[in-house]
């Protein structure tokens, strides 16, 4: 288990303020946040590159706050690979084992094993400069894994790769995690990586961790405007909540899954709203009447804006959109379940 206890670190423009996280053994943990949120500093502090200004770090029961990087048993992989350009792939992968003066035959065996796991066994004699981005990233991961680290830190491992390679390597990461059971902390600014990989997710912003939960929780139950915006919740309605689970938004009464009295925001994902020209029965749902503002095709999806006193954004598949047969200017019914409407207090935003 990797425990980060109230860690602060300031490095000029980037900083961590009082970050606490607890990552279970064998967990795939993703830290999500925009550029400049302090994600890389967090990893480098865990790895032992920086000593925290305050707070403590524990790995499997031992305190490692002041343990030098080389003794932490933590592997690190950067976005731009950082393969040593003057060494072959084989020498890169065996670099760490050689630091520990292991037996040459043992080293060769481990390198081969690790290279095979990453499917780069045929590239061992090559220099990093001659490899593709995906191959370089595999070599970098093999170099870290061969040390059998107690935790593996991945700093935007997929961000520098083209779409197809990224998808392949994402699947590989899931497979490697499955095969080795290594505890992984993976940071990214790309929400897509979360669903395939993460057991749990933390959202960071400006050096703070602002929400931790399963991918599903983060995706559907954001706790702030920032998280909601970051995970693509396009409908954020300001209103007044009451303790019976309804929220008054302008003239609308919305039934939500949770009840928070006082000023609140209601977050509704755009793909959880149903559209229909025919009147919809309530059936326990929220039904709202409005008028279509605009229709915007977006790849395989169609984004529809509806004015229902408050603006709603609805995302439909192309087929779903054609079935509704709506066009701009037409009257329309919207329906969504109370469970699709998540309420959080808007006052927390001020904090």
């Amino acid at each position: 288990m990797l425990t980060i206890d109230s860690v602060s670190k300031s490095l000029g423009e980037f900083s961590l303020s009082n970050v606490s996280l607890s990552i279970e053994d064998g967990e795939y943990f993703i830290v999500l946040g925009p550029t400049g949120a302090g994600k890389t500093i967090l990893l480098e502090t865990i790895a032992g590159i920086y000593t925290p200004d305050a707070g403590r770090i524990f790995l499997n029961g031992r305190e490692i706050t002041d343990v030098p990087a080389r003794e932490r048993k933590i592997g690190m992989v950067y976005q731009d690979y950082m393969l040593f350009p003057h060494l072959t792939v084989e020498d890169n992968i065996s670099f760490g084992l050689k630091s520990h003066r292991a037996d040459p035959a043992f080293i060769r065996g481990k390198v081969q094993e690790s290279a095979d796991l990453l499917n780069i066994g045929h590239l061992l004699h090559r220099y990093p400069g001659t490899l593709s981005g995906g191959e370089q990233q595999r070599a970098a991961i093999a170099r870290a894994l061969v040390m059998e680290p107690e935790a593996l830190l991945l700093d935007e491992p997929l961000s520098a790769l083209d779409v197809k390679t990224r998808e392949n390597l994402r699947a590989e990461l899931a497979r490697i995690h499955e095969a080795t059971g290594t505890t992984i902390v993976h940071i990214t600014h790309n929400f897509e990586e979360v669903f395939d990989l993460a057991d749990r997710v933390a959202i960071m912003r400006g050096g703070d961790v602002i929400q931790v939960g399963s991918a599903e929780e983060i995706f559907r139950k954001p706790n702030s405007d920032f998280v909601a915006g970051f995970v693509g919740v396009e409908n954020l309605l300001r209103g007044t909540g009451s303790s019976d689970g309804t929220v008054a938004v302008g003239d609308l009464q919305i039934r939500a899954e949770n009840a928070i009295p006082g000023p609140v925001s209601v977050a509704i994902r755009p793909e959880e709203i149903q559209l229909s020209k025919a009147p919809l029965s309530k059936n326990g749902r929220n039904v709202v009447f409005g008028r279509v503002d605009s229709v915007r095709p977006n790849g395989g999806l169609v984004k529809v804006s509806v004015d229902a006193g408050v603006p709603f954004r609805v995302t439909l598949t192309r087929q779903g959109f054609e079935e509704t047969g709506v066009a701009p200017g037409e009257a329309i019914y919207l329906a969504f379940l109370p469970s699709a409407a998540h309420v959080y207090s808007s006052e927390e935003e001020e904090a």
């Binding site: 790895a47 032992g48 690190m76 950067y78 350009p85 760490g96 170099r143 040390m147």
Partner: protein, 265 residues
Amino acid sequence: MNLKNSSYFRMATVAVALLIAAFIVMILVGVVTHSPPAVLIECLLSEEIQFAIRLSIITSIISTLLCILVAMPVAYALARYTFPGKTVMNMLMDIPMALPPLVAGVGLLLFFGVSPIGKSLAAAGLAFVFTPLGIIMAQFFVNLPYMLRVTRSTFQGVNPRYEYVAKTLGCTDAQAFWRVTLPMSWNGLLAGSVITWSKGIGEFGAGLMLAGATRMKTETLPLSLFLNMSTGKLEYAIAAATILIMISVVSLYAFERYGGATHVY
């Protein structure tokens, strides 16, 4: 494209470039071809020029090695760490480069000649004034900033994350430097060494002040050129100049060749 206008402009700029290139070639060829080949070879083989070549090569190699030895830790500290006084230190290190070598020479002469430190060094057998040791010291002092600047920018060109990764793979700070940063800096260090060595071979002013110009004792190639010129032995002066030209051209080529690859990483 307005061919006529652009071609006038093009002709004018290229013409200036050609003129200057021709001027440089004429100057160099003028020196090398001034003596008949037989005389030139005879002078080159003379005891005095042979001595100067030997002394120049030995002193410049030693001073270059000293520059490398000192520049590496200093450049690394300046490139990687932050510490109080770093900005001032960065400026100080460049001063010997901006200083006229004669001024540097006077400073060295005073330090090693009359200061208590210099006197005790001389008493301990390390005499720098009017000795070949002084030539080495003068070259070292004047050329260190060049080595330092190239080395510093080379180290800066190596992303520190390579060292971070090395440390997570079991390296101490020093091991990360030896196994990663240093090999990745090889081209830059080689280029810096070549430029430092070639400047060491040509060093005149500071050496003249500290080591004097004693024939067959502190007579390096530039000093030989100076001494023979002043005593009217033009063909000996030209022999020394010819060698200096050859060394400059070769080291410039080496610098361009390896220095250009400094920032491949």
